[in-house]
């Protein structure tokens, strides 16, 4: 019996990430089904659908402040909910699709859990699964499964960034995911996460502290941090660049309306006027 149980544990561990993603998809996808709807909040009425619309159709030449200042936040994460809404999907369908997007957070959380709770016994396995389940037991996080808000989807790249930053300590890390590669990817995704939502910035700026804590010589670690920071900038620019250029072109401020006075000298230097 003991040997059979160990054999089963080995089987589960070897397919653990697939199983936990399936379990996560079933659990999280069942929320809108159980509720029979998703909610439209103040923000949903005000800007979620409009932002998805402006992601697909440039509205700068037509509208101004149509969804108040929220009209100028990064719009592309709202494209799925806009598409579903305009395609005539029911709330349940939209909720399931959005939940499947959110499921991308599950393997990142599991990677972190595997790093903090290594081992392949039933005890380790149970602890890890409970840790992943506990991660989602937040009223704030769960509320997003009954909402069109993008706070959770915007957090996904930052979660992956953190999970990858801890990969050098993961005893079960696949051989092809070398620590150096994992940290560079972590840097890139940190930049992407800030592009998705500027409010990720205050958390993302702490990641160099994790990067520099890696094993290795100080010189190697400093070099790695520098490379990861450069890739963060690349990730941010690659993701936010187009939208930032749009905002600069129309308002002379790539993060309009924030910190507008900071860009006054840049506007003067570039000869921007409207």
């Amino acid at each position: 019996m003991g040997r059979r149980a160990d054999h089963l544990a080995t089987w589960v561990v070897s397919r653990e990430w697939v199983l936990i993603v399936i379990a996560g998809a079933l659990a999280l996808g069942s929320i809108p089904i159980a509720l029979g709807h998703i909610g439209l909040s103040w923000d949903g009425l005000n800007h979620h659908i409009y932002l998805g619309w402006s992601a697909e159709h440039n509205r700068f030449d037509n509208d101004y402040l149509a969804a108040s200042y929220q009209a100028y936040t990064f719009p592309y994460l709202y494209w799925p909910v806009y598409r579903l809404a305009l395609a005539g999907a029911s709330g349940i369908t939209a909720g399931i699709v959005l939940a499947m997007i959110h499921v991308m957070a599950v393997p990142a959380i599991w990677l972190l859990a595997r790093t903090c709770i290594p081992g392949s016994s039933w005890f380790d396995l149970t602890m890890r699964w409970l840790a992943v389940a506990l991660a989602f037991m937040s009223g704030v996080v769960l509320s997003f499964f009954d909402s069109t808000a993008n706070d959770l989807s915007a957090a996904i790249p930052l979660l992956w960034s953190v999970a990858l930053a801890f990969q050098p300590w993961d005893a079960h890390r696949p051989r092809r995911l070398r620590p150096h590669r994992a940290l560079l990817l972590s840097g890139f995704l940190a930049g992407v996460s800030v592009a998705f939502k500027l409010s990720n910035g205050p958390i993302a700026i702490l990641l160099p502290l994790v990067w520099i804590a890696q094993p290795g010589t100080l010189r190697d670690r400093l070099s790695l941090v520098l490379q990861a920071c450069v890739l963060s900038a690349v990730g941010f620019a690659a993701c936010y660049g187009y939208w930032g250029v749009q905002l600069w072109t129309h308002f002379g401020n790539p993060i309009y309306p924030f910190y507008d006075s900071w860009f006054e000298p840049v506007r003067a230097l570039a000869g921007w006027s409207r």
């Binding site: 029911s90 709330g91 903090c116 409970l130 989602f136």
Partner: protein
């Protein structure tokens, strides 16, 4: 916006424990009690006490350090739980990681992990997050019903909204060449008001889009009082309702669903009462606000003095003085969710949005002479930890 930012070092240090309180507006607008951070702190303390016997793994203390340090920039910038989602998720593996390394039996560690999960689940079961944000439920298509307008057939139409909720979710249901603006916005940068003015001036046919007020409707049309209120909102932008033209009435099951969210039977009965008014506008009009004379210097001095006393809550330059119906004046500070009132009888009050009632500060003379003032460290509805607060 300082809504969720702590006012004192003590409040900042206690935030992981405050988050466990089953109240709304602690770290996010909804009630989302979270015991996990407090548990993580207690477990970390236990690990420190068993320092020599713990099976240390580098990842766990580093993850703990990351989560702990994340509180600093978070609380400095917003303290809003919606902007803390990565850490709200990371705390799961963190709690698991700390328990895993404690020098306890496997059974007891599983008990601790399962216990934390059960307690947090129970806390959420008592404060379910479902429907916490929702104004209405999106069940069947369409996501938000509104009937189509006759103006949709026209070209060069500009739809103007004045409500704080822009209702821009209906815009994609209108022709793509229509133009949209919410004139209640503006003012975030010094240039915006001019852009709003130019946008309105360069618009084609201007149509106001506004949700109807079911209690203030006469044969489907806005009453005279509503028309006056709308003109007061439109006037500063050189706009006014066309007196001779009725508003088009667009029935909206979406609007009805907002007020009848909890009862399908009521939704069916009430649907006809809720609609958007689409009202033709004239431009330009010479707007003269129907108000009393300017606010007296003494009243303005009261505002200035209180702003000087509590700049965190009454930020100088943030609010403009507005007349209120009793003849007094009001300044509203959206950045701190505060209002300052100077009533016509000389009474001065403040109100934090979470407080039930306004708080008396004193009379005009008392404030100007310094014998009465605001206790900046004891704002009702805001000051203190959740279990200390008075509303």
């Amino acid at each position: 916006m300082i809504r969720f930012r702590p006012d004192t070092w003590w409040e900042a240090a206690m935030r992981p424990f405050a988050m466990a309180a089953p109240d709304a507006n602690i770290y996010v607008e909804i009630a989302a009690p979270d015991v996990r951070f407090a548990v993580a702190l207690f477990l970390a303390l236990a690990a420190l006490l068993w320092w020599r016997r713990v099976r240390w793994q580098a990842a766990v203390p580093i993850l703990f350090g990351l989560a702990a340090l994340a509180f600093i920039p978070w609380l400095i910038t917003s303290g809003n739980g919606r902007y803390f989602v990565p850490i709200l998720l990371i705390v799961g593996p963190l709690v698991g990681g700390i328990i895993h390394l404690l020098p306890l039996t496997k059974s007891f560690r599983l008990f601790l992990m399962g216990g934390t999960f059960v307690v947090q689940t129970a806390v959420l079961a008592l404060n379910p997050p479902w429907g916490a944000w929702a104004w209405l439920n999106w069940e069947q298509a369409p996501y938000f019903h509104v009937a189509m307008s006759k103006f949709a057939a026209e070209r060069s139409v500009t739809y103007i909204t004045v409500s704080s909720i822009s209702y821009s979710l209906i815009a994609p249901q209108f022709p793509a060449d229509a133009r949209w603006i919410n004139i209640s916005s503006g003012g975030a940068t010094p240039r915006d008001n001019d852009w709003v003015r130019r946008f309105v001036a360069n618009s084609g046919r201007r149509i106001l889009v506004v949700p109807s007020v079911s209690e203030q409707t006469l044969q489907g049309q806005p009453t005279a009082e509503v028309r006056q209120a709308l003109d007061d909102l439109l006037g500063p932008h050189g706009l006014a309702l066309r007196p001779s033209q009725p508003c088009e009435v667009l029935p909206s099951r979406g609007l009805a669903a907002i007020t009848t969210r909890y009862s399908k039977a009521e939704l069916t009965a009430q649907t006809g009462k809720f609609s958007f008014w689409l009202c033709p506008l004239q431009y330009p009009v010479d707007y003269r606000p129907a108000q009393d004379g300017p606010v007296s210097v003494r009243v303005e001095s009261v505002f200035a003095k209180l702003e000087q006393t509590c700049p965190r809550f009454f930020r100088p330059g943030e609010a403009v003085t507005r007349r209120i119906k009793d003849g007094g004046a009001l300044r509203q500070y959206p950045g701190s969710d505060m209002k300052l009132y100077v009533l016509a009888d000389g009474t001065v009050l403040y109100k934090f949005w979470r407080a039930l009632n306004p708080v008396l500060i004193g009379r005009i003379d008392e404030i100007l002479t310094g014998s009465a003032t605001v206790q900046c460290d004891n704002i009702r509805g805001r000051a203190g930890l959740p279990w200390d607060r008075e509303i």
